[in-house]
Point group: C2
Chain length 710, copies 2
Amino acid sequence: MQATQVGHGLDALFKPRSIAIFGASDDVTKIGGRPLQFLQKYGYAGGIYPINRKGGLVQSLQAYASVAELPEVPELAVIAVPPAGVLDAVQDCAQRGVKAAVILSAGFSEMGEEGSRLQARIGEVARASGMRIVGPNCLGAIGVPDKSIATFSVALESSFPAAGSVGIVSQSGNLGSFTLRLAGERGLGVSRMLTTGNECDVDIADAIASLAADPGTSVILCCMETCRDGAKLMLAMAMAREAGKPLVVLKVGVSEAGSAAAASHTGALAGSDAVFDAVLRQGGALRVPSIELLLEVGHALSVAGPARVPGGHRVAVLTASGGFGVLLADAASAQGLALPKLAAQTQARIVAAVPFAAPSNPVDMTAQVSSRPEVLAQMLDAVARDDSCDALILQSANAFHVPRLRDVFLEALAQVRKDHPARLILLCARAPEDVRARLNAMGFPVVEGIDAACATVAALLRFGARDAARIAAPAIARAPLGAAAFATEASAKAVLAEAGLPVPREAVARSVDEALAAAREMGFPLVLKIVSPDIAHKTEVGGVFVGVRSEAQLREEYGQLLARVASKAPGARIAGVLVAQMVQGGVELILGARKDPVFGPMVMAGLGGIFAEIFKDVALQPAPVDEAQATAMLRSLKAFPLLDGARGRPKADVQAAARAIAALSRFAVRHADSVCEIDINPLVVLEQGRGAHALDALLVPEEHAVKGKQ
Amino acid sequence: MQATQVGHGLDALFKPRSIAIFGASDDVTKIGGRPLQFLQKYGYAGGIYPINRKGGLVQSLQAYASVAELPEVPELAVIAVPPAGVLDAVQDCAQRGVKAAVILSAGFSEMGEEGSRLQARIGEVARASGMRIVGPNCLGAIGVPDKSIATFSVALESSFPAAGSVGIVSQSGNLGSFTLRLAGERGLGVSRMLTTGNECDVDIADAIASLAADPGTSVILCCMETCRDGAKLMLAMAMAREAGKPLVVLKVGVSEAGSAAAASHTGALAGSDAVFDAVLRQGGALRVPSIELLLEVGHALSVAGPARVPGGHRVAVLTASGGFGVLLADAASAQGLALPKLAAQTQARIVAAVPFAAPSNPVDMTAQVSSRPEVLAQMLDAVARDDSCDALILQSANAFHVPRLRDVFLEALAQVRKDHPARLILLCARAPEDVRARLNAMGFPVVEGIDAACATVAALLRFGARDAARIAAPAIARAPLGAAAFATEASAKAVLAEAGLPVPREAVARSVDEALAAAREMGFPLVLKIVSPDIAHKTEVGGVFVGVRSEAQLREEYGQLLARVASKAPGARIAGVLVAQMVQGGVELILGARKDPVFGPMVMAGLGGIFAEIFKDVALQPAPVDEAQATAMLRSLKAFPLLDGARGRPKADVQAAARAIAALSRFAVRHADSVCEIDINPLVVLEQGRGAHALDALLVPEEHAVKGKQ
């Protein structure tokens, strides 16, 4: 798949000039009956061609025995025949020059090996012919403006989606259909929907890309279960980002219970969900935790517009009741939002408008706002002028249902919108549909629930804080790593040191004299470690001695170490003894790189020991990362205060640690074909300015990963 | 306040024979006009007596100049006059023998000192006369069955609450009123509402107690901002528990931003919210994080009934679509629920009903359930029989809106309810109001949102797991602690050791000879520590030496230690040198006890150092606790695996640690009048069977807390 081809050729799914339906049926409860019914019911204007061996009329339209017999080449084919007949239908379509086909039929890879083989052959038709194929086992596509309907979704039974600029893509047909229904209930107009099912050809990345390229779509909602091509997804996300279209993603199958997939190769600490999270973040997508929030955030983004969404985490809350202020402050805090004190000038303005108001944050405007719109406008204006907040939440439990108050609020909000066109202001309120529509038209998202309102604002501000100017990671040429590098800790550290990882001065001694010579060069204190390709756990065989402080002690310990190892690991090949400078003090990090089967090398950093083990306090990001990104990874750790001088500790050399992470990440990319896993444990980070040192390292070659890992 | 008096005399608020209204007005926008309007509009059957200096008719009723002139003694008085007139009105009521008064007027303690003084005098009238007083600055009370209305809440403008068994209590009038409105929208019938406002007499504990005692209330919803009397709240919670009535609490002002209150005296690690959390848990209340969940959980408990709610965390999920199964599994996992694999027999039954079903958990019943009710009934029956789950969630996005499917589902559910009357089964579904009512009548709570459904089930199962048989903590006689105990580490440890805390063998030596004598008795290795009432941080003045291994070393280090201290803390009084057995290895805990100003002594345990500091991984509980409770505290720590043999570590002596916590908690209660804070840092816990040792201890006397703490 060429990079430039993500999402190509999919317009035929959404605005075809004509549609053929294989397996068209008079029975509207059948999957071949429903698209036909919907197309006619909702007034699709192009040609509709039922295909049915029996010919005659199907739902009052002339049916044809095959696609070859059609009077014109249909741009889109909807295939709803039993699985055994699908390949033939697809081949006929390709031959006739159909641009795209949607296979609604099930019975393929989800049913086992035979189905998978059949599905693979269908995919080959797509690749050979250039005809794009959606499905099989999917709920197809809807192009709302053109009333193009290639689905049997029950969501269309009662009504056709209202037109709008929200696009919906989903791997699961049911979730796509449910999202469509929820969008309708939420008052969200839709541009396109595409569900990809088994993805024999068109996948979720194509689907995202096709909406990124669609001028009628401004916000993309995505239900994602899996990803089959990481690079393609990254490209699709980049397309959405470059088009300025927010991509909001609900990843399903997050939990162990929810995930049918086996644990990814990235190991226990960095499970596949953490990888997805890192990839989505890197791609500038906005991940949400529930389908409810998918809709709320989609609504808010489509109403406010992404240009109005700043980065940040500071909100101002305005209410007409202290109690609601407290509720909102609690809910906002739970979402990681801060409610900074408003500036003195702002508070003065608030009190000038209403002397009894609580002017801090949350602002209790008191019942005065119910009588005079100018008071509400003054309050909102005062807060909107204040730079100490990134967004405003105006709460009202009741006002929009009481005509007099409604008019007061609408008037004040219109004024504020005029004076502060770019300000992100969200209403946490209940309102009749028509009032909500008026508020939305002014660019104010309206969210009912208190928790939902705060979660939505938090998501928006997180989205606004994405690295808008993210430059594609520099291309790193792949290079194989020689087998020798994998042999021992010493060989691994040698290649890592060459790649820029800081490693203590060390040398492999093959005799006590070589060890003494090395010691004279390095100075004391020193550490001794056995070097053997056969010994994985050196301490368990007495193969490590820490704290050699003199030549005499070196002679003594060198011999004793070899003797211990010879007695505890009698068969092991001994390549020598590693003599290394001893590093004292500092904070221990663990660094790692693992190759995700879909997304490629990921780099990981965390504090050593129990932090990573018990608190799962690790940061993960697709490799490579630069020093700034590596620093951000470290800062994202809960335990970062330990590096940052918490409770009187010295500040650690975070910059040196970040340099090491960046170097490791570049190494992981460069050698991704031959190295599947890299562990540096520990990387000791000394005080600021004193550097960091990788004290131990392990490289796992690619073939080990394939056969060896659990 | 006598224990037996919590909530006494409040029936007059909810079912008075007659009501007098001070400040009754013809103007129904005034707070004195609205109760009068509501009482007449909704058909209160008792006597209604407007009180108004002018006399004449008020809203068509004969008004009286004073309560003295009324033809009968009203049982309830509603007071809606300006603050300056309230005290007189209250005194008149008390004199006439009114049972209860509700002061709706504002302008008291919320307005500063003068208001507080006036409010205090009103409270004195209550205590002197026995007349109960609600408010001031509150939204009063509603008794739904008797249509007794002592409120001006806007929630009553459009309609009177539907009668039911859910009681609502709130300190904030606005939140109480909002909860009432949400209950109506949620289809929840209400028994009583009471808002307590400034609480000059009736407080939130009284409110809870009055609903616990009300035969018409089965579930209590509570919005709590603060608590003025911890012991009274504990009693009220016990009353609810004993009456078998779930008490669901939304605590507002949780976050720093949301909390106007200053940090509590319990210190930074155990902030006031953590204390509330521990107190509510101890009292068997069910805390919820949002007002939305307050209603959902209230609905579920009132529909399912508390008897149907088991303890646990295991759910089975049944859907007709794999996609929803995954969404629910994710949402359930996020709520801490587990989805265990169903028993082989269960899975066999499921597959027998529908061969293509996914029989594990979540169960994908496939579209087959839409055609045959017996299939749905079989599936539900199979899962309901399976003991591996504590609750079932049946999801349906659509079925209850399609008449044919609705009937299939209702028939199947009726069957399952008949066969498994005690099973907790919650529906995650959308349904028309009448269908929802039918489902509710069968004992099935219906929740729309996926997250909300899982959060509700999780809350219910947490409620079911509360210690139903909790026995009141044994009474511990209070005793003062002599001032000498506070002097030094040694004196503190001595009294703690007497109380059962494990302390290493140690002795205070006043000379090197005494130290040598002690050493001979204890054996080596030893630790030396300076003993001085003037030195808080011993290590900072060189006052500690660890690892004395011989008599010669003891002589040497004894002298050097004294010399160091003399040079670094020249003025300090030296009481001697503590000679203590040295404890090696083990896991370090920190234990503490702090006195909360409202709830009294709380005991705290956590792992030492960074765990408590950075991860806030501490357990808190009202003292005293027994060994079982202390063990549960330790098990609740995220870092508990470190005590429990994680990653090849030896298992620690958890029992010894729990004994120490229990002993500390009893000590804290016994000496609560003289000790405000106890720190044991560290308590070293050795391997299983080898005990635990408090290596350092600090007692802070009560007076220090008052003047010294920030």
